[in-house]
């Protein structure tokens, strides 16, 4: 692992009475891919929002390139926003329902790339829409007129327009059909091949985690109970809870009777 880009130190956060994070430390290196798994409400999303600087932890700190994120202002804050992008959970709500595709993809650049002219931003936006496999007609459409998979691609495109060093993804596969999930994961892999990009993928699915991450963190009740390389996790999880979820996943895989392969119609790689 190369030097750490984004470091979380002893993050703790309470939402009213409930403990969302109970002292989480994590470091993400350049071009690394990490998956965070755990059940709903274990603090995964809170952790991501803290890492993205959208929530302030009660104690502990997030450090990006040696500076504490929450204190960043002005140009430094912009630099951080360009470097670390969060793709929010629930694509339908993360897109303003009254904006068309082009305006949505251009929004990050409108805010953070004032060095580009309006035309240049449009060009970049269209290029990214094409890159994530969306038809050109999406520029004119509202999010409500897109499918779930298309909305997820749109979210990826708008985050990627900033060419971030770290991409945080909060349940990008939730609510999508398995073939579409597969397409999104493949797209993510392609994006990682294109340029240096570290990804943190929060997911329920061990399968997705195994597909596109080198390291895995298992979270439970606001703490990381196990942080391993993917191979050693699958060969022998240390923590009791990790063993439990791995066993559960393997049982589901065994019960699953595969039918004939589904032709997804989308890009397959």
């Amino acid at each position: 692992m190369s030097e750490a880009l984004l470091v979380a130190r002893e993050l703790a956060k309470r939402h009213r009475a409930a403990c969302a994070l109970g002292g989480v430390s994590l470091s993400i290196g350049a071009e690394e891919s990490l998956a965070i798994v755990g059940e709903s409400g274990c603090g995964k999303s809170t952790l991501l929002r803290c890492l993205a600087g959208l929530e302030r932890p009660d104690t502990g700190s997030v450090v990006f390139e040696g500076v504490v994120v929450w204190r960043l202002r002005g140009e430094q804050r912009k630099r951080f926003c360009r470097g670390v992008q969060l793709v929010l959970q629930d694509a339908a709500r993360a897109l303003n329902p009254w904006w068309n595709g082009l305006a949505l993809v251009r929004e990050p650049m409108d805010l953070l790339r004032s060095d580009l002219s309006r035309q240049e931003r449009d060009v970049v936006a269209r290029r990214w829409l094409e890159r994530v496999g969306l038809p050109a007609s999406v520029t004119e459409r509202l999010p409500g007129e897109l499918s779930g998979g298309q909305r997820q691609r749109l979210l990826l495109a708008r985050a990627m327009t900033l060419e971030p060093a770290v991409l945080l993804l909060d349940e990008p596969l939730a609510g999508l059909d398995p073939p579409i999930q597969r397409d999104i994961l493949d797209l993510l892999q392609e994006l990682r091949r294109d340029r240096p990009l570290a990804t943190v993928l929060v997911t329920h699915s061990l399968g997705a985690a195994a597909h596109c991450a080198e390291r895995i963190a298992v979270m439970r009740s606001g703490v990381i109970v196990e942080l391993q390389s993917m191979d050693s996790f699958f060969s022998g999880p240390q923590h009791l809870y990790s063993q439990e979820i791995l066993a559960g996943w393997q049982a589901r895989q065994a019960n699953f009777v595969p039918g004939p392969p589904i032709k997804s119609g989308g890009p397959t790689h």
Binding site: Q89, L95, N96, E107, L112, P143, G144
Partner: protein
């Protein structure tokens, strides 16, 4: 947003009604201050089309003759006829709605005790009343936007102070507080000052409800995923307000304006009815109606109550339009889920 097609007629109907009132005031047959001293308390002039000989003619009015036995009773001398014409230039170069050929007099709604044309004064008074309602609504909504956005965006103690303040205002019996406040301020003021005071007081007491409403919309929008996403792109509060939050407020503001304008018009009427609004000789529907509160006047000079008819029409129309707007301007639901 298919309902857009309906929104236009509703708003246009209301606007054209107020425009009509304001526009007609410029085309009133007489000036609101012009006194016909020889014709006090004259009943509405009859417009005739049949002359004494029983022949049909173009509309005309007969010569009005004050009767000698009592003030305020009049006879007609139909041997002298004055034709009535529409949209004629008057002596002062204005285009008037209608007039009888000089020196004939045509008082559509009669005259008051000083011989002033009630119809012309009703139109002018409507403009004053409507202007008060409109201006007070604009000021109140500005205050509401300020308060609602501050409370909704900042949360914490600013929210606490603004919300509790608004609730306190809403808990007060507004009309009584307004009357007390207005009575505490100087009564003998020039009409412009009285107008400004009425607008100021009404809007200061009236911002609370729209502010609470806007606060709610701002708060719910602030927690939307797309606002969070924009913050992730480094958006500051000004950007969020301008791009994501204000567009959501437009509908609420439109409906609130449609509700508040008639409400504040009624408050203005109440103020001037009790002598706390604009004072004579400037007309407002309230000051004009205040003379009808005595039995004798209401009984013998029923035409002085004409402003009440216009007021009732305005309020009914506004209420209907507000209800339609409120239904139509509801924020559209978030993007439909996939089926």
């Amino acid at each position: 947003m298919r309902e857009c097609a309906w929104r236009l007629p509703a708003a246009v109907t209301l606007l054209s009604w107020y425009m009509l009132l304001a526009g007609l005031a410029w085309m009133a047959p007489y000036s609101w201050r012009e006194q016909h001293r020889d014709f006090p308390a004259a009943p509405p002039t009859r417009i005739r089309m049949v002359d004494p000989a029983g022949e049909w003619r173009m509309p005309f009015v007969c010569k009005m003759v004050p009767s000698s036995d009592s003030v305020g009773s009049y006879g007609e001398d139909c041997r002298v006829r004055y034709p009535v014409s529409l949209l004629q230039p008057a002596g002062d170069g204005r285009m008037v709605l209608f007039r009888a050929e000089s020196p004939g007099l045509l008082f559509l709604f009669g005259t008051d005790d000083l011989g002033r044309d009630v119809f012309s004064r009703s139109l002018a008074g409507g403009t004053v009343t409507f202007a008060t309602g409109l201006l007070a609504t604009m000021v109140a909504l500005l205050l509401a936007i300020l308060g609602g956005c501050l409370a909704g965006l900042l949360g914490g103690w600013p929210d606490l102070m603004i919300s509790r303040g608004a609730e306190l205002l809403m808990a007060l019996p507004v009309l009584y507080v307004l009357l007390a406040l207005r009575a505490a301020l100087p009564i003998q003021t020039p009409p412009a000052v009285a107008f400004a005071l009425a607008v100021g007081l009404i809007s200061i007491l009236g911002w609370a409800r729209p502010a609470r409403l806007l606060r709610g919309v701002v708060m719910s929008t602030r927690n939307e995923g797309y606002v969070m996403a924009a913050r992730g792109f480094g958006a500051g509060p000004i950007y969020l307000l301008r791009k994501h939050i204000f567009p959501r407020l437009r509908g609420v503001l439109g409906a609130q304006a449609a509700i508040l304008i008639p409400e504040f018009m009624l408050v203005e009427v109440a103020l001037s009815f009790l002598g706390l609004g604009v004072a004579e000789p400037v007309p407002s529907w309230g000051t004009m109606l205040s003379s009808v509160q005595y039995d004798l006047v209401a009984d013998r000079r029923w035409w002085l109550g004409f402003p009440a008819v216009l007021l009732t029409l305005s309020i009914l129309l506004s209420g209907q339009v507000a209800r339609t707007l409120e239904l139509q301007l509801q924020p559209v639901a978030v993007a439909p889920e996939e089926s």
